[in-house]
């Protein structure tokens, strides 16, 4: 059954815009929805939320540790709390609060990392979050999600509001084209989505790298290579069943993420495949362990081959 969506056809937006709109829609019907910001209402596109629902918006100033602690206290009293801050600060400076006050204490805060990965591009490494999957994968009791397009973002926000568990959601601020013409599948945390089907190579991508992975299938097709593309929006819990299915079907596996090649989706997939005897040619694409090249998000993607051409090349290489 197709999930209901408020996204107008043909009007692709940033996932951030979808987040802001979805949250307002939820807040309209549920006064327990609370947004906590750390001077991040502008970068989180939450100024309209604050204006419409002033009683449901808590501002703590630039103080991320406090942001998460306060959010945990609110959540312990039954509030459905979205703690919103740039992913780089939220998952580094406030990591101990996420670990202890949210995950360990089982306070079901929705930790929202905005402008994630290298969205802040030329602002440099202080503003990049290339460690968040790795850090949060190693913390028990938090769902880790990176939606790819507007549909996944809206569904992820709705699902996060509904689920009584800690969730980390991260997305960027680039306009994201839809992965599918019609979304005829349900969005469920922990269940990856097959975006394209082919039996030569499986490309498992997450977040804003799924779209270039999908584009890469066109280039591959020109070479007679048919690729499966999975949008693995949930990094944890990982959809190992789907990984096994596509790895068994295809001759090689490529993973793509806007994250360090250490500790993210790629290593999570590698760990599963190796421990289950599914040995295939395998490549992790992401940001290497070096001082990240300077430039815009797209410059950085291009530099490290996280684009249509680069992903197609790596996929083809594995099949040689």
């Amino acid at each position: 059954m197709a999930a209901e969506t408020t996204i107008e056809k043909g009007k692709a937006k940033t996932n951030l815009d979808v987040f802001s709109a979805s949250l307002q829609e939820l807040a309209e019907h549920d006064k327990d929805i609370i947004v906590v910001t750390s001077d991040s209402r502008g970068s989180g596109k939450l100024a309209p939320f604050g204006q419409r629902f002033p009683a449901q918006h808590i501002e703590v100033g630039i103080a991320e540790q406090n942001l998460v602690g306060v959010a945990a206290g609110l959540a312990s009293c039954g509030k459905k709390v979205f703690a919103v801050s740039p992913a780089c600060f939220l998952t580094a400076r406030a990591l101990e609060q996420i670990k202890n006050d949210v995950a360990y204490s089982d306070n079901p805060v929705k930790v929202i990392g905005i402008s994630a990965g290298v969205s802040y591009g030329a602002l440099g490494s202080t503003h990049h979050s290339l460690h968040d999957f790795a850090a949060l994968r190693a913390i028990n009791n938090i769902i880790v999600v990176a939606p790819a397009d507007n549909f996944e973002t809206e569904e992820a926000i709705k699902a996060a509001a509904k689920i009584n568990q800690p969730v980390y959601l991260r997305f960027g601020k680039k306009i994201m084209q839809p992965l599918k013409e019609s979304n005829d599948d349900d969005f469920v945390f922990g269940k990856g989505r097959i975006i394209a089907e082919g039996s030569d190579v499986a490309i498992i991508a997450t977040g804003e790298t799924v779209y270039p992975a999908l584009q890469a299938t066109n280039k591959l097709r020109e070479q007679g290579i048919h690729a499966t593309v999975v949008s693995m929006h949930t990094i944890k819990p990982l959809d190992t069943e789907l990984i096994a299915t596509v790895a068994n079907k295809c001759k090689a596996v490529v993973t793509v993420e806007e994250h360090s090649v250490y500790g993210g989706l790629g290593e999570a997939c590698a760990s599963y495949l190796l421990q289950n005897g599914l040995i295939k040619p395998f490549k992790i694409m992401g940001i290497p362990d070096e001082y990240t090249i300077t430039g815009s998000q797209q410059d950085i993607f291009n530099h490290y081959g996280l684009n249509e051409k680069g992903i197609a090349e790596q996929a083809a290489l594995l099949l040689k």
Binding site: G61, A63, N66, V68, G73, Q97, S105
Partner: protein, 278 residues
């Protein structure tokens, strides 16, 4: 509860703290003995919380930021009937929920704590929820003076004043010693009162072992309309056992059998000096 009854409880709690730390061969002895009178007054006089209303959204909340003094909290919760006291025989044992810091797996514990500088922000969220829902419960958080340099406390101190959380009461167990030495030498935080006052808090000093004064101080909350409350409770680390008082090694020192017997004997004598009410 009369002050004399509270006094008897305090002595019994001190005996129990030592008993279970001795049995577990682990625990934070000095800090548990310094804060026990505060927790005693909160649970037996000030707060509206008990096993019967613990799931009620209107109960008063206690969040122990200085989680390492968990033995003090456990003996009070056991006495209040949140769990059988015999459970504490498993303190720090394999598979036990009764570990060296508060966890919600133990009935009566509000929040998992242990890392310092976490209690105040969580308490603020809890107090904010009361304001949002028009509930009258109060939130008490016990902090150590040694944890004050944690920056998250000062982020939180700003927020509490900004939101005028007069339903929040932070208590500093000001025993003036931490694991390395006197707090004034490790990282001087004085004057604590003026710092919090300048942040917009209403501050009171109290002798943290004077049960009567503790009762009265907590009865006066809110100290000022629209201001979060801070009680600086002047205490003695290791209070009640003369050889432990103000001696840093008892921060997490565990008495040997002879020291344990000596401490219990001293506390038994103290119990004997509390006159009957009748």
């Amino acid at each position: 509860m009369t002050t004399k009854e509270l006094q008897r409880k305090s002595v019994q709690y001190r005996k129990n703290i030592l008993k279970y730390i001795f049995h577990a061969n682990a625990g934070h002895t000095g800090g548990s003995l310094s804060c026990i009178d505060i927790i005693n007054v909160l649970y037996n006089h000030t707060m509206n919380v008990s096993p019967s209303n613990f799931r009620s959204p209107d109960r008063d909340r206690y969040i122990q930021s200085k989680g390492h003094s968990v033995e003090a909290l456990f003996v009070v919760l056991a006495d209040k009937g949140f769990f059988p006291e015999s459970d504490l025989n498993t303190l720090c044992k394999y598979g036990s929920h009764y570990i060296g810091h508060p966890t919600r797996k133990v009935n009566g514990v509000e929040q998992n704590t242990g890392a310092l500088g976490h209690g105040l922000p969580i308490s603020i969220g809890t107090a904010l929820a009361a304001k949002l829902d028009n509930r009258n419960y109060r939130v008490f958080t016990l902090m150590g003076d040694g944890e004050l340099p944690e920056g998250s406390n000062w982020e939180a101190a700003l927020t509490a004043a900004h939101y005028k959380l007069d339903n929040l009461c932070a208590i500093i167990d000001h025993n003036k010693l931490q694991i390395t030495g006197p707090t004034s030498e490790v990282c001087n935080t004085d004057p604590i009162d003026k710092k919090f006052e300048s942040f917009g808090w209403a501050v009171r000093h109290v002798d943290g072992h004077d049960l009567d004064k503790l009762k009265k101080t907590f009865e006066e909350i809110p100290f000022a309309d629209g201001k979060p409350n801070l009680v600086i409770a002047h205490t003695i680390k290791g209070k009640g056992v003369s050889y432990m008082e103000n001696v840093i090694k008892w921060h997490h020192g565990v008495p040997n059998e002879q020291q344990y017997e000596e401490a219990i004997s001293e506390l038994d004598n103290a119990m004997g000096t509390i006159p009957d009410d009748f």
